[in-house]
Structure formats: structure tokens, C-alpha cells
Symmetry: C2
């Protein structure tokens, strides 16, 4: 996010991503004139208004810190919004760019973290990132055992999927936060169960500027960055193909200096 | 609700309706032995454990106070859970037994109340109950005008229906609370909108005993009861037929003394 109107109630309370006039995003977006396209981060410099500049703690590697501004804030914000703290029981659905940050952040907040994944092969990786439990979501026995055990779930899956198996793992007052944008909607959920356990399903979109700085400070204190693979600009097509196959641990970061080599 | 285990974490924090072992409800339920059926409220006396007895403020008519223990708590609890206070913008979907209580209670909390109804004929009645605005939900122009204007919606409709028109009336951080139990689930909602405005859909089931007493005290202070039609037991079949046609303002209460007449 690189700009917003700065005057509406959402901007004034520091949630510029929910600007009533529409925030300007880094790419696939326009400046506040609603005409001039924004050209993204594939540049060696970018000019933004001062309110949209953040301080990156000096102990963090800049390359590995880059995805904190996207995958980091996107998972940090709902964890905070839903009150995750020491001892909270947090589930993370999907272990990609967003999911791996959710695990690191929730774990650093003192939560007990359960990762849901379809791949047996990701069990060890999830634990390396700080997960306490890993549940294979295709295994009905494992899912049944997890029923009613969680307070907050961060669902990072970016395509339409059945939320019910995950809702079933929430306890009374449990919240499921969607952070992946699906092209088509998710199937209906069990309203009776939601009512009888006072649960909810919500969404969350990146973070505002104050919370983005808060996340960076939190990462500085806990020495957290994304786990990244740095590539040069000429590797971008290969990286794109690998990304489509989920073959990346866990974010590609392009060294833009390589543009000039 | 007439009993619960009393020992689980939910009972200990006073939300006995979410008892991990299952609460005992007044009817269509069993006692805590999970065998003995409960016989409902169609009696001139009922024996319950002392923790499930509440004090009805003396200024409230007992007949009109009776539905507070169901429609009252069912709507009061989500209003409190989602932080409704003076100036909150509250929507109420459906103007029946539950809906009319939601209007009275939200209005007494100082909220600005919008009622959604399909019937033009209910406009005046909604305003009499304390609603500030009435929106005809079948009218696309009225629904469009209401877009993004609400903080909390209490959806009292007890059958499957499209939530999206109501979700569209929520502002950033808006919450929609389902309190009507549908036989089949509601159609899918727009996940992208939910994410881009940090909204959520949740459920809520009656209230625990401390909050039930709180509701009764609140009603005593604000002199609120349900709007009821008192009937004798021999009118019950006629009342049932009228209820099926939504022809009741807004709850029938049976005078059980009439059993002995």
C-alpha cells in the first residue's frame, strides 16, 4: 500500500487499507487521482508519501524482511485483531508464503500453533517454523481429534474450499480469519454449529500503517523475517513456474540490483 | 436453560449455554443424566437447581417479561458481545419475536437502529418499537442506500436465506450475528468483500446465567418487556395457526393458570 485519502474515518484511525475512497496499492492499482497506474515494486526506487514509509529494524536482513510488508502484516493483523496472546490456540491453514509467517508470528506471540496441511512432507518444515502440532487435513481421524481445540484460525488458502472441517476444530468463541482471496466463494458453512458455539468467520486485509510499523518492531524484537529464496531478475520465469507448483520455501524475493548487471 | 454440568470451563465462566457436556434446555432436552426428558414450561411450577433461577425486577409485568428469558437474552447477548453502545449503528433483520426485542434493546443501549423487513406494513410498527430507520429488503434502491452504513446486524431469520444483501450494509469491521437456527444452511457469502472490509459472520445462542440476570436488570432499569398477546391454554391451537402466518405481535404467552379453570 502506497497511499490513501488520509481524510476518511478509516484513514484517521490508521487502517488506511480500508480507506473509504480506496487505498492505492503498490501494483494493479492507481494513485489517488484514480487514473495514474501504480508501477509496483519492480524498481530500484519508488517515491511515496511520507506516511507510507516504515522503519525496518537494523537487525533484520532487508531481503528477508521484504515479505513482512505483505505476508507478514496480512497474518499479523488478524492475529492481533482476534486477541491472540500467550497460550492462545492458533490454527494455520496452508503452509505457503502467508502460512509460514502466521506460524512464526503466532509462535512468537506465545500461542500454541497447529498447522493444517495436505502434505505429510510438510510436517517437519512446519515444526521447524515453530508449529507445535501438525494435522493432515485429508485424514479424518486427525481432523476429528482436533475438533473443538482452537481459538483462532488463520486460513491462508487463496481458492474456494470447504471451511467446515476447519470450523469444526474451533472451540466456543472461536474465530476463523480468511486472508486468501478466492476467485469463487467458499461453500456454505454449518450455521447451527456456528450459533451453538458462538463462532465466527471473518476476513482481514493486510494492515494499516501504524500496525505495519508495529509488526516490523515486533519482528525486530523477536528476530523474525520471512524464509526466502533470493533470485536475480533473469530467474523470474523459472521462479514463476516453481511458484505455480508451490515449489518455494516460502517466498521468492527478486534482487532488483540484478536489473543493472 | 435449566441446568448444565457446572464444572467445565464454559460453565465456570458463566456461559452455561455453551457447556462442554451440553446444557439441559427447558424442552426437547434431557436433564444432566442425559436420559430424563425435560418437560418444558407448560406447567404451573418447575423445579430447577438454584443457579438457574433469576430475579425478575418488580416493575416488570411477569407475563410480558416471560419472553425476555428467550427472545430477550438471544438478542441481548450478541449486542453486548459485539460491543454495541451509544451511537452504534445496529441493523435488525426480521421483525418477529426475536427482532422486536432486538429493536427495543439496541434502542435502549443508545444505538441507531435500522430494521430490515419485507413488509411495507411493518414500517410503522418498527418505528413504534424504537427503530430509527426501516429498509424494505426487497427494494434494491433502499438496500443500495443502506450499503456500508452498519456496525452490527442481528439476523433473526430462522430459515435459509442469502446473507449477502445484509453483509453489503455493513461498514468496515461490521459483524453479522445469526440467532435464528435454519434447517438448511445459508448460501455462500462474498469472501472478497468480507476480506476487503474486515467483516465477519457469527452465531450466538441465548445467554449464560450471569448475562440473563444482567438483561433482566437492564430491562428493569429501562422498563422494557416483550410485546405479547396473552392467551388461555384452550386458545393454543388457534395461536399456533396464527404464529405460522406470523400473525402475532410479537409473542404469545400462555397463562398457565388457565389450565385449572
Amino acid at each position: 500500500m502506497v497511499d490513501s485519502c488520509g481524510e476518511c474515518i478509516q484513514c484517521k484511525r490508521g487502517v488506511e487499507q480500508y480507506c473509504q475512497k480506496g487505498a492505492s496499492f503498490t501494483y494493479n492499482s492507481t494513485e489517488q487521482d484514480k487514473q495514474t497506474p501504480t508501477y509496483g515494486g519492480y524498481s530500484d526506487h519508488v517515491v511515496v508519501t511520507e506516511n507510507f514509509v516504515v522503519h525496518v529494524p537494523k537487525n533484520l536482513d532487508l531481503c528477508a524482511a521484504a515479505p513482512l510488508l505483505c505476508a507478514g502484516v496480512t497474518t499479523y493483523s488478524p492475529l492481533r485483531y482476534w486477541g491472540v496472546k500467550k497460550g492462545s490456540r492458533v490454527g494455520v491453514v496452508g503452509l505457503g508464503g502467508l502460512g509460514h509467517m502466521a506460524v512464526k508470528l503466532a509462535s512468537a506471540m506465545g500461542a500454541v500453533v497447529t498447522v493444517f496441511t495436505t502434505s505429510e512432507s510438510k510436517k517437519a518444515a512446519a515444526k521447524d517454523l515453530g508449529a507445535h502440532h501438525v494435522v493432515i487435513s485429508k485424514d479424518p481421524a486427525e481432523m476429528k481429534q482436533a475438533a473443538g481445540t482452537l481459538d483462532v484460525i488463520i486460513d491462508t488458502v487463496g481458492s474456494s474450499h470447504d471451511l467446515q472441517p476447519y470450523l469444526n476444530t474451533l472451540d466456543v468463541d472461536g474465530k476463523l480469519a480468511l486472508v486468501g482471496m478466492p476467485e469463487t466463494n467458499h461453500p456454505p458453512f454449518d450455521a447451527k454449529r456456528m450459533i451453538s458455539m458462538r463462532q465466527c468467520v471473518g476476513g482481514s486485509n493486510i494492515a494499516g500503517m501504524p500496525e505495519t510499523q508495529e509488526l516490523l518492531n515486533f519482528c525486530g524484537e523477536h528476530n523474525i523475517t520471512a524464509t526466502v529464496e533470493k533470485i536475480n531478475i533473469d530467474q523470474i520465469n523459472e521462479a514463476y513456474e516453481r511458484m505455480l507448483k508451490s515449489d518455494v520455501k516460502y517466498r521468492f524475493v527478486i534482487d532488483i540490483a540484478s536489473l543493472k548487471q
